[in-house]
Symmetry: C2
Subunit: 231 residues, 2 copies
DNA sequence: CCCCTGCTTTGATCTAGGTTAAATCCGCAG
DNA sequence: CTGCGGATTTAACCTAGATCAAAGCAGGGG
């Protein structure tokens, strides 16, 4: 099979990641040479809790969940990773195994960039290091926000926060906005640290107040501003 | 006043931080020149939520809490920072204001290392970048563990986890171990995301089961292994 | 030594959210 | 078109942990 087109595609994807922007072609080539393309059908595990870390992952298409499994077998989703986002960078710099698992929520394609390529690049390019640092910092910041939500927001506030975050880019001034609950409601409920039942109740309660409209997995927000204020 | 001894002291402290180990004297000098010594009496705020970030902090002695304040004025402690530990690094790489506040829990002394010094060093020394990355990664890892605790551990498990973490270094095989609840029980309760009342009840419940002994703020653990198993 | 103030404990009560169980809904393979 | 299995909803009930209120206690200034 001809590897050339795939290689080019890899580089193109990498080049679009914030972490690899402004990288020279020759550097991108080196990184691309150390990356693997992974096809994961829905439900497939990318790695389990306890596995060693050999690099980081980037989602090209599809969706991946990261989560813990409690001793009692209960599963808790920490993060839902969408195309263009990456995960597992932090563990490259620690010599410890994964403390979460990763599983494809739908048929997905990802890239796996080997640790050594990152370390090589780090040693070579200080600006790469700074981008890496800012990537990790962003992740850290997000996690602190999550802790804030988990610890001092009510279930309803967390749901509203999720809906608003999902349309953060859309301004939709006045116009109704649509949100699609892609990964299924139970996954989102877990991500928000509540049961599917509770999530359902909250959604319908919001609907009863006219704040949202429900149509299966499609949520309509008639007035973004009003929803934001009621948080 | 003679600045020389203070300067040397600053460098000595910095040199002991994981992030600055193996740094040449001349580099340490540059960093030290950009660091400020801060004396904070008990209760003093180091920064508020919303303040801009100009560098990161290191605790020399004393104790500092990081936390959020909810819209309703309720306070939630995210982290208790002890001597030798640092905080606020991540925000240097983001251009956003603090989302937590920092306040001295007791009379404390800290160092404030200016952002520009870190950036200069980053550009100069790839190994410094790697240490910085591993520092941030460790923080991230800890935060993920916290999320795990908040979301799928019971109050009792979180308390046991806290006690065990506080004696992580001590092996105390067979011998009873002592833990001192330095910052006061209500601060720890908040850090564990529970009310002081609930924390008190759990402690006394553990005592009733013979897992710990309570003596004001001093906790005795007669059998570390047994406590660990009962988590 | 004593009182005042701020922790900590205790007890009674309340509630957000979890559990259990059963009914619906829905996409889709046959 | 039809039956199946998974996802969602609904309803009734139940608990971990919060809230409220009231003692205890402990330490430090006078």
């Amino acid at each position: 099979m001809d590897k050339r087109p795939l290689q080019i595609k890899t580089q193109a994807f990498l080049a679009n990641l914030p972490i690899f922007t402004d990288m020279r072609l020759e550097e991108l080539d080196r990184v691309a040479a150390a990356t693997l393309q992974i096809y994961a059908p829905k439900g497939q595990a990318l790695f389990h809790c306890g596995d060693p870390c050999t690099g980081f992952h980037v989602v090209v298409y599809g969706q991946v969940k990261l989560g813990f499994t409690s001793p009692q077998g209960i599963e808790k989703v920490v993060e839902i990773v969408s195309p263009g986002q990456s995960f597992g960078e932090a563990l490259m710099f620690l010599d410890s195994p994964y403390i979460v698992f990763a599983q494809a929520l739908s048929d997905s394609m990802l890239l796996h960039v080997a640790k050594h390529a990152v370390f090589d690049e780090l040693a070579r390019d200080p600006s790469f290091a700074r981008r890496m640092l800012s990537g990790l910092s962003r992740r850290l910041h997000g996690l602190v926000r999550d802790v804030e939500a988990y610890t001092l927001r009510s279930g309803q506030e967390r749901v509203i926060g999720y809906l608003l975050a999902d349309v953060a880019d859309v301004t939709g001034n006045g116009k109704p906005v649509e949100v699609h609950l892609t990964p299924g409601k139970s996954v989102i409920a877990s991500r928000l640290n509540m049961t599917p039942e509770h999530f359902s109740r909250i959604l319908h309660e919001l609907a009863a107040n006219g704040l949202i409209g429900i149509n299966g997995r499609a949520i309509t927000i008639p007035d973004l501003e009003r929803l934001r204020k009621s948080a």
